[in-house]
Symmetry: C2
């Protein structure tokens, strides 16, 4: 059961060959979720050999070009490839208007249904209930209305113990009930507690995505316990004022959030083009939160299953 | 005096890492002209270390996404970089509307003037008179209204012969007139023919850009004698019908046009993603027109000065 993130774009407003603008791809058991879609995202998807047709849900954090300019080309490519399934886009109404307007220039209909889901920017919201994963949005603090996203695997059922199946001669039709946590009653009325016939499933994995945002402690309870937290780190602490002014965070601030939220791993990205190397941003974060990695285009992080 | 073309994107409708969608950059003595602007053009400009600030004129052949989706990001980047000079865009009115609409989402004004010049699609037109170069548009035959472009250096003045300057003791203030072709009259009334005091300048160089178009002999007199002709070659002759149906050309057709127009060199590109290698497209063209090269992202072709 895969739960893996691929960074498609690790840069910020000014894309360069080594760092395209923001886009992440989360693979949950071969269900693909695209998060933000900067210019050239479709090229990065091909570069990192991700099948475009597996993307059915796109989440756009806010209406700044470096998070959405890749949408037009991606939708156009879906049309040219003969896509049929609906494409769900979770975004600000401004983006809905922008995409509809743009698509309208090229054809009356892109060949498949574009389903827009309007995000809320005032409070956390449950936005998608998929078979394997649930998705929430929550407000961030940026210069325009912006959302972060939380992807959480659904709680799995208990696993049956093979030895118990034989020992108690458990009928197959009872298994779904037992997997849900029920005890098993023998023919003589003896109750076998569920814990003796099952063992716990792996813990649901969780990915939290926070871009773009200034330092905001309000998000800590929402992202608590994430296996992987992406938090933007546009600047270093040398640019504290600039971060505040532009609605962005420093690497140190990202690490403070990660530490306070008790996440397992922190991924920083959205680096300002002014930094030729981001070593000191990484050091700044690791001084506070050692399990930090720096985003690079093509970086893949798999979150292991843990019981 | 540079006259050099850089291919920024050699692919067609579906961009891939090795072939971005169409964009060309013509450098005439450090005056930069961007021709078409597919998704990721700004990334390619950085990849091939071209200074963005030197671009003041953008020519868009037609309103298909693979020729214009890079405009939004490029304009946004110009704004973020604090651009001040006006940016001239030569395009279809549909594109004017599209860009204005898009820019309007992000700010009321991009920080510099966007000057739109509406192309004509019914006849060849003189569209730009620059210090070193003149630009014409001319109609192509595609599925939507499309223009090709011709960039031609201006005719230079005659060069003065140093030996003549001394021999006839020519006053400095007369030189501009003599460079324009006038004869020189000695004090005793003897007329020295211009050809004895000057020598010819290099020939004006010419670049003709034809994308996207089906085979169209009507363009031959317009592009006659070009030093470099770019002609799209989306398909091979195996796909003659598809080329006709989609308003594109085969490599063979591109070569027939090059041969008939007597150009010096043919550059083919806009290759369909179906071709894993374009060797046979190149062969097909070279069988008819040997001086053919195949476009690659980053390919630079310098046109030498010839007297």
């Amino acid at each position: 059961m895969t739960f893996a993130l691929t960074v498609l774009g690790s840069g910020s407003a000014l894309p360069v060959p080594a760092r395209f603008s923001t886009a992440h791809l989360l693979n949950v058991d071969e269900h693909f979720f695209l998060i933000d879609c900067g210019e050239g995202t479709q090229i990065q998807l091909r570069r990192f050999t991700i099948k475009l047709g597996k993307i059915n849900h796109i989440f756009i954090s806010h209406y700044h070009g470096d998070h959405l300019f890749g949408l037009f080309g991606l939708i156009s490519t879906f049309t040219l490839l003969g896509r049929k399934p609906p494409l769900h886009i979770y975004c600000h109404p401004e983006i809905t208007g922008m995409v509809k307007h743009q698509v309208g220039y090229f054809s009356e209909h892109p060949g498949f249904e574009l389903v827009f889901h309007t995000l809320r920017f005032d409070e956390p919201s449950f936005i998608l209930d998929e078979k394997k994963v649930s998705v929430w949005s929550f407000p961030l603090k940026h210069k325009v209305e912006t959302c972060g996203f939380i992807f959480k695997e659904k709680q799995r059922l208990q696993n049956m113990r093979k030895d118990a199946l034989e020992k108690y001669n458990i009928p197959v039709k009872q298994i779904p009930l037992l997997k849900s946590g029920a005890d098993f009653t023998l023919e003589d009325g003896t109750v076998i507690p569920n814990r003796e016939i099952t063992y716990p499933p792996p813990k649901p994995r969780m990915y939290a995505y926070c871009s773009d945002t200034k330092y905001d402690e309000a998000i800590i309870p929402l992202i608590r316990g994430a296996d992987l937290l992406y938090h933007e780190a546009t600047f270093g602490s040398d640019m504290d004022e600039q971060a505040e002014k532009t609605g962005h965070s420093t690497a140190r601030q990202a690490a403070l959030i990660a530490k306070a939220a008790g996440v397992k791993q922190l991924l920083i990205g959205h680096f300002s083009i002014r930094y030729k190397t981001i070593d000191f941003l990484l050091k700044e974060a690791r001084d506070i939160f050692p399990d930090t990695v720096a985003a690079e285009d093509g970086l893949k992080i798999s979150v292991p299953l843990v019981r």
